[in-house]
Structure formats: C-alpha cells, structure tokens
C-alpha cells in the first residue's frame, strides 16, 4: 500500500515539470506551512520591520513553494517552547529573523530556520547588504536560500536585478535598475529619451540602451559600476537591442539603415553587422533560440503582426503561431514561446492584450492572463517564470507569472509608464 502511495506521489511530482503549456497546479496542502517571526530589537523602526516582513512573506508566497502564514508575528531571537512550535498554527517551518543596523548603512539579518514539528533550530545564517535602501534584495536572498534548502525548484530569478525604462513625459524617459517587486529602484540614466535597456550579460554588470537624444538613434553600452558609457553604433529611423546571445558576444538589433526596419546580428568583438531578415514591412523584436542559431521575431508579413522564426544564415521563414490576429511581442526559451496577442479587432472591446504560451513540440496553447493590457513578456532563465508589463486601471506595473503554480502577480509603478523591461 505504501509503495502504491509513494508511486502516486512521485508520478505527481514528475508531472509538474512535464509541459508548461498544460495547467497543472500544485495543491497547497502539499506545501510546507511556514510562519515568519520578527525577532528584531524594539530599537529598530517598526515601519521598517513591517516593510521587511511584507517583502519576505511576499517572496515566499510568490515562490509558490510554501504555504505561508500572512500574520506578522514577533518573538525573541532565542525563542522558547511556545515560540519554537506555534502549535495553534500547525506549522512545518518557522523562519525567525533579527534585523540589525551597522555603521555606514549596512543592514544585517540574522536568520534561523526552525523545524516547528521538533522545535529544533535546523540552520542559522547571517545575511548582510551594504546599503539601507537595498533591504528588499536582502529579503529576496533569504527567500532564495530557504527555497533551495527545502529542495524546491530554483527561484534564483528573485536575486536578479530588473532593468526598465519608463516614460515620464513626451520624449522623456528614465532607465531604472530595480528588484522584481520595484521596492528598490535606482535611476541609472536620465535626461531626454533613453529606452530599450537590455542587460549585456548574465552577471548584470553592464547594459545596452538606445539614446534618442542625438541626430540618430544610438546604441550605448554602460558599465553599471563606473557609469561609463561606450557608443556601439547608430542607425537612422530606429534602433533597438532586442536580445543578447548567451555568451554576450552577439546582439540582435532591429535597425533601419535604409529607413526599413529589419533584424540584424551584431558581433561585438568583430564589429560585424549581418542582416537576418529582409522584408518590406515590419520585422522586429528578435530573440535568439536553439543555442543562438535561430531567431524568433515579430513580423507583419501576413498583413498583421505575428510570430515567425528564421535560421541565421538562411532565408526561409517559418510561422510559429497560428492563433490570434495581432501578436506583437514575443519571448522564447528552450521549446517555449510566450507572446502577447490582441484579443479583438476593435480597440474598444473589454478584452485587450493577453499573454499566451505555446510549445514548439506540441499543439497546446495556454492563456496566461485575463485582465488588463499584458505586453512585453520576458522569460526568466528557468522557463517557469515570465515577467511582463501590465497596464491596468490606468496604472503601469511589472507583472510576474509562475507557470507551474498557475499564479500571477503585479507590482505597480507609482510614477510614469513602463516602456520596456529586461531581467
């Protein structure tokens, strides 16, 4: 009997990673139940402590790997019989933390993970971050490590910085580096129209962006630490760095040296430009796929925007999506393609733009969003998480979809309108 049950559990677990286009939702009762205890000294500002709690509890919820108790609880750091069990909550785990401030704005979090079934401290660890305003990243770091500790699928993307451009007026924008919740934000480029930021590498120590402040749109590369920028190239008409190859050596650009927007590959080291698409209409939003040998992109070559793919070095184009009549943005990873599709031909209908997921190996289509305008999807490295721009009730937000848990979240931007994102 036990063998049969074990087989059922194992088969269920393996199904979760089978095909992301098929909705399989993990049931909450299978997740470890966890409560957070704030054991900071009373000298630490209470509003700060509550903000920290809110981010950490949000991280665990967004991970979709915990059954999280939302209640803000306080305890001593040492703990006692009652605090180490919290019997009335019937917990599996307790995450107890104590925040300390050091000189020069350093924030420290001492963290204990307690097995609430035994009341024993399972592990203890200290986290620190050098600047006070970056405390959200400290919380994300704690969540990422706790998630790894229970052996759940990685949520390392929480540690990644997001870079985005936001419009703040006509022909005016700013480029900002933030965490995924927008709780931490730092403006890195301001003044004029600077758009389409794109991380230059996985280390996130440099980024590309297009400046519209000169005679021609110009692509720059900026070193994050020094702030030094280097001109890469210019193009009349428009210029967007849509994707960077895995090794960081090649860029997919949409540019228009002859007034005609096409997709090009630019080799950073050789300074060589290769034209990939050649069509008299619109080709845009190129993404590397198949080990950077192929490009998926948006084109209006059928009379409306849709998703196509082309081998680099070949002229034959393959239609990738057979659904929708206005699919104007795409992101791809492994065998999966996520795209934004306009629902109706009328611009005044109740439905606007929704995200859809397809697999290149199956015929399934999965609708990922249902309300608001959902645009500019971007996969995380793990293909289980998608970030996108959401416009809802006249507000612009970063949206986040956890595919395996079938959950989505959005984090509103207080001022401005998000233009583009990368992470």
């Amino acid at each position: 009997m036990i063998k049969k049950i074990l087989m059922i559990v194992l088969v269920s677990c393996s199904l979760f990673a089978y095909d992301a286009t098929v909705e399989i939702v993990k049931k909450m009762d299978k997740l470890p139940k966890i409560a957070l205890q704030d054991a900071s000294e009373s000298s630490v500002d209470l509003s700060f402590r509550k903000k920290f709690f809110k981010i950490l509890v949000g991280d665990l919820r967004v991970s979709s790997h915990f059954n999280v108790v939302d209640e803000y609880l306080q305890s001593s750091y040492k703990g006692n019989l009652e605090e180490n069990f919290l019997n009335e909550l019937n917990l599996d785990l307790i995450l107890r933390y104590r925040i300390l401030f050091e000189y020069d704005g350093i924030v420290i979090a001492e963290v204990k993970v307690i097995n609430a079934k035994t009341g024993q401290v399972d592990s203890e660890r200290t986290y620190k971050i050098s600047k006070h305003n970056r405390y959200p990243l400290l919380a994300h770091n704690i969540a990422v490590e706790l998630n790894a500790k229970i052996g759940a699928p990685s949520i390392k993307w929480m540690d990644q910085y997001v870079i985005f451009a936001k419009y703040i007026g006509s022909k005016k924008s700013e480029i900002i580096i933030s965490d995924y919740t927008l709780s931490f934000q730092q403006t890195v480029v301001k003044g004029g129209l600077n758009i389409f930021p794109k991380w230059a590498n996985k280390a996130q120590n440099a980024f590309y962006y297009t400046s519209y402040n000169g005679n021609k749109p110009t692509l720059y590369k900026v070193d994050v630490r020094s702030g030094k920028r280097k001109r890469i190239l210019s193009s009349p008409g428009m210029l967007v760095c849509s994707d960077v190859s895995a090794d960081g050596d090649k860029l997919l650009l949409t540019m228009a040296p002859n007034d005609q927007a096409d997709i090009y590959v630019y080799d950073i080291n050789r300074k060589n430009l290769e034209k990939i698409t050649s069509y008299s209409g619109i080709d845009v939003n190129g993404n590397f796929i198949d080990n950077d040998k192929r490009v998926v992109f948006v084109s209006d070559r059928l009379g409306y925007p849709n998703i196509f793919a082309q081998q680099i070095g070949s002229r034959s184009v393959e239609q990738m999506v057979y659904h929708g009549k206005n699919n104007n943005s795409v992101s791809a990873i492994d065998n999966y393609i996520v795209y934004s599709s306009r629902e109706k031909s009328s611009e005044f209908g109740p439905k606007t733009f929704n995200l859809y997921l397809i697999s290149t190996k199956t015929d399934y289509i999965r609708q990922l969003t249902a309300t608001g305008k959902n645009l500019y999807p971007r996969f995380a490295d793990d293909s289980e998480t998608i970030m996108f721009i959401k416009y809802y009730n006249n507000q612009s937000a970063l949206g986040l979809i956890r595919l395996n848990a079938n959950k989505s979240y959005h984090f509103p931007l207080k001022v401005g309108k998000i233009q583009s994102i990368d992470w």
Partner: protein, 185 residues
Amino acid sequence: MKKILLISLTIAMFIFSGCSQKNPEVDATSNSSGVSTADKKADDISGMDTDKMASNGMSKNATAVEKAIAKLESNVNKIYFDFDKYDIRPDMKSKIEANAVLLTTMDAKNFSIKVEGNCDEWGTDEYNYALGLKRAKSVKESLAAYGVDKERIMVVSFGESNPTCKESNKACWNQNRRAEFKLLP
C-alpha cells in the same frame, strides 16, 4: 481513509525534509564565509544625466533661422493614420501634396526635413517604433512622389513616446497616430 491520508502526509514531509538535508547551511557561529552578501553584484550602481552630457550646439545667430523654421513648421500639416496601419489614407493625400508645395518653396528648400512617425498607446512599444518608422517612410515616399528631393528627407520613429494627447479615448488615439515634420538647418 484517515490512515492513508496520514501516510501520504508523512511521505510528503519525508520528501521535503529529505531534500532540505542534502544542502546543509553554514552555521552562523562559524567564520565569515557563512555570511551571505546579497549585493555582490552591482554594489555600486552609477547614474548619468544625458541632458548634462549633451552639448549645446546652438550658434549665436540661430534665432533668425529658428524663427524661419518655426514659421514653416506651423504651416505644415500633420498626417494621420488608421489604427495599426502605415499606408497613406485617401483624405491625407491632399495634405501631403500641400506640404510638398510648402517644403519646396524658396523659404524652405534649404532646410532638411525630418519626418517623425508616432503611434498611439496600443501595443508593445518595440513594435510601435517599427510601425512609427513605416508611417514616416510612407510619408517620405509620398512627399518624394510630389517632387520633394528624397535626399532632403530623413525619417525617425518615436513610437508611443510623443503623444500630443494624453487621455485614453478614441479621439486622443486618432491624434497620436501621426507623422510630424521638423526642419533642420
């Protein structure tokens, strides 16, 4: 039934607790390697203000030229487009023809012409920049057909970054789907 449920939960707990023990964490009482530094990447993010970096190229006697340009620009017709389209509407052809006449006058013919393509707020901005460019290119080709030297005309797209109307309604979106003209010395 209760027994089966209990056994299932026990197995689930075994899986979670079993996994968690594979990667034991460093005890905080150990040395500093147990401290996780959350900001090892980009711990010094620098900013720049491109307005301050831009050079001011305006010459001392630019005012007269600027006035001439402003006068001409105020008389050039904006060209409007249908939703998600970049072909010239029939009702816009006469406007382009009038622009071509103005832009080939003695007062204007020494200036270069920049056609700026713009979009409404619908759609992804990357696509909108390409759409705006196609609109500007359509206008450039139409102006050339009416006798304006192509070499004088450059095109640029501003996607949805440059709305003239910021409300969210049909009338506004109609105004924002347009091509505008700038004259350059």
